[in-house]
């Protein structure tokens, strides 16, 4: 198990790219210098789809457990806080699912114990699946897929935004690049080819490690709707969100998602992502 975000790191080293000795490091630097030229050429030739694919392929660990705090800021400045425990596991296409995520609400008290379970499909013919556990009803209820366009816990991201659209559900075009704070970014436009509440999305993807710095969401009239800024936890080759700051420019509503207490490699299993896990609730 590895703890990140100011906590101890006890990893077995498998998922961190650490060069063990100076000789290897020197040799590696020489090789890297040669490869960088090739890489730059390769990157220059990358298509929008390939760039987005790279951004999707970032290693996030085999599983994660974290605390996600949502700060919802209204246009009048009033704020509301929601604290959730998030469990996530990369299913790598097993049983047709790319990943599964479950959220358990810890705060506010009237939502305590409410659970959301999301199965992200890896099959374009299948729809994502979503379940909701309401302690007040003592029942797990399946939620319709159309509901995925609903705001996630009243925030500025939808359930669908919290999961991930399949690559082929959008047409991705490299429309330019930009240097920000001395770092280069591809600018890719993703236009939906299947049903979406958005007209398009514009993504700023790092040329260095393919992390996404910013996403602009446009409505169906192609007017700017939301701007999402992302900061990352970088640990070896692992890339995990640290904070998402999403502003709806049309309503002036804003949500800040902060990830803390991140642990990876915690050994989450199928049962954690089932109705059984939902009804059990979160347990340390």
């Amino acid at each position: 198990m590895r703890r990140i975000c100011g906590k101890e790191l006890k990893g077995n080293g498998k998922d961190s790219m650490v060069f063990k000795n100076r000789w290897m490091k020197t040799a590696g630097m020489c090789a890297a210098a040669a490869l960088l030229g090739l890489a730059a050429t390769a990157q220059a030739a990358m298509t929008g789809t390939e760039i987005v694919q790279k951004s999707r392929d970032l290693y996030q660990g085999v599983d994660q457990r974290s605390t996600v705090t949502l700060e919802l800021i209204n246009s009048d400045g009033s704020t509301r806080k929601i604290v959730t425990k998030r469990l996530w596991k990369d299913f790598k296409g097993d049983q047709g699912y790319a990943a599964k995520t479950v959220f358990f609400t810890l705060f506010p008290p009237d939502s305590k114990g409410v659970g959301f379970l999301i199965w992200d499909t890896s099959d374009p013919k299948q729809q994502d699946k979503l379940w909701l556990y309401l302690p007040s009803l003592k029942q797990v209820r399946k939620v319709s897929v159309r509901d995925q366009d609903d705001a996630f816990m009243g925030s500025d991201l939808t359930f669908a935004d919290m999961g991930q659209r399949l690559l082929e559900e959008d047409a991705h075009t490299l429309v330019g690049d930009e240097t920000l704070d001395g770092k280069g970014y591809f600018i890719v436009e993703s236009v939906p080819v299947s049903e979406s509440i958005y007209g398009k999305k514009r993504l700023w993807i790092s040329k260095d490690d393919h992390t996404t710095l910013k996403i602009e969401y446009y409505d169906r009239k192609n007017e700017l709707l939301k701007v999402q800024d992302i900061t990352w936890i970088r640990d070896g080759n692992m890339r995990v969100y640290k904070q998402l700051d999403v502003k709806n420019v049309q309503t002036n509503h804003r949500t800040i998602y902060t990830i803390t207490d991140l642990e990876t490699g915690v050994g989450l299993g199928d049962r954690d992502f089932s109705d059984r896990g939902l009804t059990r609730g979160y347990r340390e």
């Binding site: 008290p109 305590k112 007040s136 029942q139 509901d147 609903d150 816990m153 509503h253 059990r280």
Partner: protein, 441 residues
């Protein structure tokens, strides 16, 4: 009402709170302080509820498992503001009020969980819900109901928790659940003094003793068939409504007496559910077959004991969909008596439908909700519009209307059902405005 009773209840609640607060590290206490008001608006406005309660919920580790305890102390001060004979016109002068209705302390749930790799066990007083169609009570009949406030309380108050053992096993193909319920409790009618008093249990009602032989048993299997989630269940239970057998004594053709033997009878319930997601909708089907239901008969039919045994089929379909941001749930249910006879004084087929609309506004602080229920017999209906607003993360208030209508009918007598009984329409003059403030911690 004896004031000492609710003082005692308060002390019991305080002690429970202290006990919970003093539990070892790892334990957590949360709870709710709630005030509920209701004013009848059919005719002259009349306060009918002034309920206050403190609920404490304690959780923590218990060896390899965990525990949950939920207790409550409550007091309804409506009698300080209104005459009980006005609140409940059916209450005859001199009829005693049920003090437990107005104040008391109650243990709601108390159970321990033991969680394994492939199986979980929950032992204690708990609520188990089967079924898919919310409120339909087709297969969802493990716990009996408390009608103290008709159908208007939340699940945690409407369902009577039972002491039981529940085991869940998770084989690769799905989920198996097994229940053993030695705690025999039955539907609880609204007591004397409640505005929702509708029918009474016979005073000489015989209840089955708690014993291994009388224990209720249930089993449910759930599995996935492609896109369809399916379940099948069996519940060997006691009918939550008693049967009232009548014996007539006569000598030489002259009637000399009538005696009633009211008792609960065994019932078997076979259930099945199916659900799937399609085109942005969740479609649900649910059916149950009750074997061994006792039904009252017309006295003139001369049926021995005045009761016949029949099977009853219940089934329903539901759709959940989001339309323009509004959550919509539509439900249709039907109940049919198998081998119906004209001397059974109820309808062979009963039909009902419900509609629920829900939408959130103002940064999710405001929630608007409308529940409509319709019963074809007697064109009875309930309409419940409600607005709930979160003042802070801890404080929520709500206002609503409970509107009831349809044919009024007459309540069943102690001997059994009445042909003109109208469960909802009977309260057609009980429309009310409600208000709730809850502080959660």
């Amino acid at each position: 009402m004896c004031p000492g009773r609710w003082v005692l209840a308060g002390v019991a609640g305080l002690l429970a709170g202290l006990w919970l607060a003093a539990t070892p590290a790892g334990a957590a206490v949360s709870g709710r302080l709630q005030q509920e008001l209701a004013v009848r608006v059919s005719g002259q406005p009349l306060p009918t509820k002034g309920l206050s309660f403190l609920q404490l919920e304690g959780t923590g580790a218990l060896g390899p498992g965990s525990y949950m305890v939920i207790g409550r102390v409550f007091y309804d001060g409506v009698l300080d503001a209104a005459d009980p004979y006005e609140i409940n016109p059916n209450l005859a002068p001199g009829d005693p009020l049920d003090p437990d209705y107005f104040a008391g302390a109650e243990l709601k749930e108390a159970y321990a969980d033991f969680l394994g790799d492939r199986a979980d066990v929950r032992v204690g007083r708990q609520i188990v819900r089967w079924g898919l169609l919310e409120g339909a009570r087709i297969t969802d009949r493990v716990n009996p109901l408390d009608f103290r406030e008709f159908l208007f309380r939340d699940v945690e108050d409407r369902y009577i928790p039972l002491w039981m053992v529940r085991a869940d096993v998770y084989p690769a193909w799905g989920h198996l659940q097994w229940l053993a319920i030695p705690d025999l409790r039955f539907h609880k009618p609204a007591p004397a003094g409640s505005e929702w008093q509708e029918f009474e249990l016979p005073s000489d009602l015989r209840r089955p003793r708690r014993s291994p032989r009388n224990t209720e048993w249930g089993a449910k299997a759930a599995w996935q068939m492609g896109e369809v989630a399916a379940s099948a269940s069996y519940f060997y239970t006691w009918d939550d409504f008693p049967a009232a057998y009548r014996s007539i004594f006569g000598v030489g053709g002259q009637l000399t007496g009538v005696s009633f033997d009211a008792r609960y009878e065994r019932l078997e319930i076979f259930g099945v559910t199916l659900s799937r997601t399609a085109r942005g909708m969740v479609l649900s089907l649910e059916g149950a077959y009750d074997r061994g239901k006792r039904l009252a008969t017309d006295a003139a039919a001369g049926v021995p004991g005045n009761e016949v045994e029949r099977d009853v089929a219940r089934y329903g379909a539901g759709v959940d969909v989001n339309v323009a941001g509004v959550d919509v749930s539509v439900l249709y249910i039907q109940e049919q008596i198998v081998r119906f006879e004209s001397y059974i004084p109820v309808n062979r087929v009963e039909r009902g439908a419900s509609l629920m609309l829900r939408e959130q506004f103002l940064n999710d602080r405001l929630e608007a909700e409308l529940l409509g229920l319709y019963f074809a017999t007697g064109r009875q209906y309930i309409l419940r519009p409600k607005l709930a607003y979160k003042l802070t993360d801890h404080v929520k208030c709500a206002v609503g209307l409970d509107l009831l209508g349809g044919q009024r009918g007459v309540p069943p007598d102690a001997a059994g059902g009445a042909r003109d009984f109208r469960f909802v329409g009977y309260f057609k003059d009980h429309d009310r405005v409600t208000a709730t403030v809850a502080y959660r911690f």
